[in-house]
C-alpha cells in the first residue's frame, strides 16, 4: 500500500502528510512531482495544502493544468481514492472532480484555529472510520475556504449524501456549513480542515488519524 503525495511548486503540507502517513501510521508514501504522469504502484493520492503555483488567478486555477493531475483524474475515474486537503480541495473543485468553488472567507480573515466538525451520514471511503453524527476536532488554516454553490446544487449534494463534513460553528461563511465534500461514488474527498495535523499526539489531537487510515483498512485507535 503506497500513498502518492502530489507536490506542486508552492505546496507546503506535503511533508506534514508524509509524516502523518509514515511516521504516525507506518504507511509508505511516494512524492509525485507535478510534472510526473506515472501513478503505477500508487494505491491512493493526496493533494496536500499550500499555495500551488502561488495560487495565481484563483486558488488551484493553474494547478489544475499540471500533468500529474491528468493521471490523477484517470485514477479517480477508475475509483482510486483521492483526498484533497485545503489547497488540494480547491484544486479538486477547479478540476471539476468536485462541484462548487472555494472563495474568500466571509470576514476576510485568514483563519488558523481548531474547529469542531460533524460527520454527516455518508459512504465516503475516506470516512468509514467515523460514525454518523460523530463530532471531531481538526485544525483549519485558510483564507479562502468559504464553500459556494447555488441553492439547487446544495440541495442535490445534500440529497446524494455528498456533504460529508459540516462545521459545528461555521467559521468562514461556507454555504450549508460545508467543510468537506465527496463525489457521488465516494472515492474523492475534498476538505478544508487538515487531518494530517491531527495525527501525532504531540500536536494536541488525533482525530485525523482515522481519516488517513480508514481507506487503508488499518485498525487505528482514535
Amino acid at each position: 500500500m503506497t500513498v502518492g503525495i502530489v507536490v506542486f511548486p508552492g505546496s507546503n503540507c506535503d511533508r506534514d502528510v508524509r509524516w502523518a502517513l509514515e511516521g504516525c501510521l507506518q504507511l509508505s508514501t511516494r512524492f509525485l512531482w507535478h510534472e510526473e504522469r506515472d501513478l503505477s504502484g500508487i494505491d491512493a493520492v493526496v493533494l496536500p495544502g499550500g499555495f500551488s503555483y502561488g495560487d495565481y488567478l484563483r486558488c488551484g486555477a493553474i494547478a489544475r493544468f499540471a500533468p500529474v493531475l491528468e493521471a490523477v483524474r484517470d485514477f479517480a475515474e477508475d475509483g482510486g481514492p483521492v483526498l484533497g486537503i485545503c489547497n488540494g480541495f480547491q484544486v479538486l473543485t477547479e478540476m471539476g472532480l468536485l462541484p462548487g468553488a472555494l472563495t474568500r472567507n466571509q470576514h476576510l480573515h485568514f483563519i488558523c484555529d481548531n474547529t469542531e466538525l460533524v460527520v454527516q451520514p455518508q459512504r465516503c471511503v475516506w470516512l468509514q472510520g467515523y460514525g454518523s453524527g460523530q463530532k471531531i476536532q481538526l485544525p483549519i488554516a485558510h483564507g479562502e475556504g468559504r464553500y459556494q454553490c447555488d441553492p439547487a446544487q446544495l440541495e442535490q449534494l445534500d440529497g446524494q449524501g455528498q456533504i460529508v463534513l459540516r462545521y459545528a460553528a461555521n467559521p468562514n461563511g461556507s454555504t450549508g456549513d460545508v467543510a468537506g465534500l465527496c463525489n457521488p461514488a465516494g472515492n474523492v474527498l475534498g476538505l478544508m480542515p487538515h487531518p494530517e495535523r491531527a495525527c501525532d499526539p504531540q500536536l494536541g489531537g488525533t482525530d485525523g488519524r482515522a481519516l488517513l487510515a480508514s481507506l487503508l483498512g488499518a485498525q487505528v485507535a482514535v
Binding site: 503555483y53 502561488g54 495565481y56 488567478l57 486555477a61 493553474i62 489544475r64 493544468f65 500533468p67
Partner: protein, 88 residues
C-alpha cells in the same frame, strides 16, 4: 444627488514583471490555447458614486484611483465615468 457609475481599470506598468500573468500563460498553453504573445493580469473595479456634479465625481475618483486602487509606482489606471439616469 446625481449618481455616477465608474469603471477603473488598473494594469501593471509595462516594465513590471508579472509572474501571475506568466503562470497563467503557461497554463493556457497546457489547455491547448496557442499563440498567446502577451498575458498580463490587472484589476477591474466597478463602482457607483453620488456627487453633486460630474466634475466633483471625476476629481474624487481620480483621487481614489491614484491613492487607493492603484499604486502608481508599479501600476497605471484608466477611469471611465457615466451618469446614471435616475427615476424621478
Amino acid at each position: 444627488m446625481p449618481l455616477f457609475r465608474a469603471h477603473v481599470q488598473v494594469s501593471l506598468r509595462p516594465s513590471v514583471l508579472d509572474p501571475a500573468g506568466e503562470a497563467t500563460r503557461a497554463a493556457a498553453i497546457r489547455l491547448g490555447v496557442e499563440g498567446i504573445r502577451k498575458l498580463r493580469i490587472g484589476k477591474s473595479v466597478e463602482l457607483e458614486l453620488e456627487a453633486p456634479d460630474r466634475a466633483t465625481a471625476q476629481r474624487e475618483l481620480e483621487r481614489l484611483s491614484d491613492r487607493l486602487l492603484a499604486n502608481p509606482v508599479i501600476e497605471d489606471w484608466q477611469l471611465s465615468l457615466s451618469e446614471v439616469e435616475q427615476q424621478p
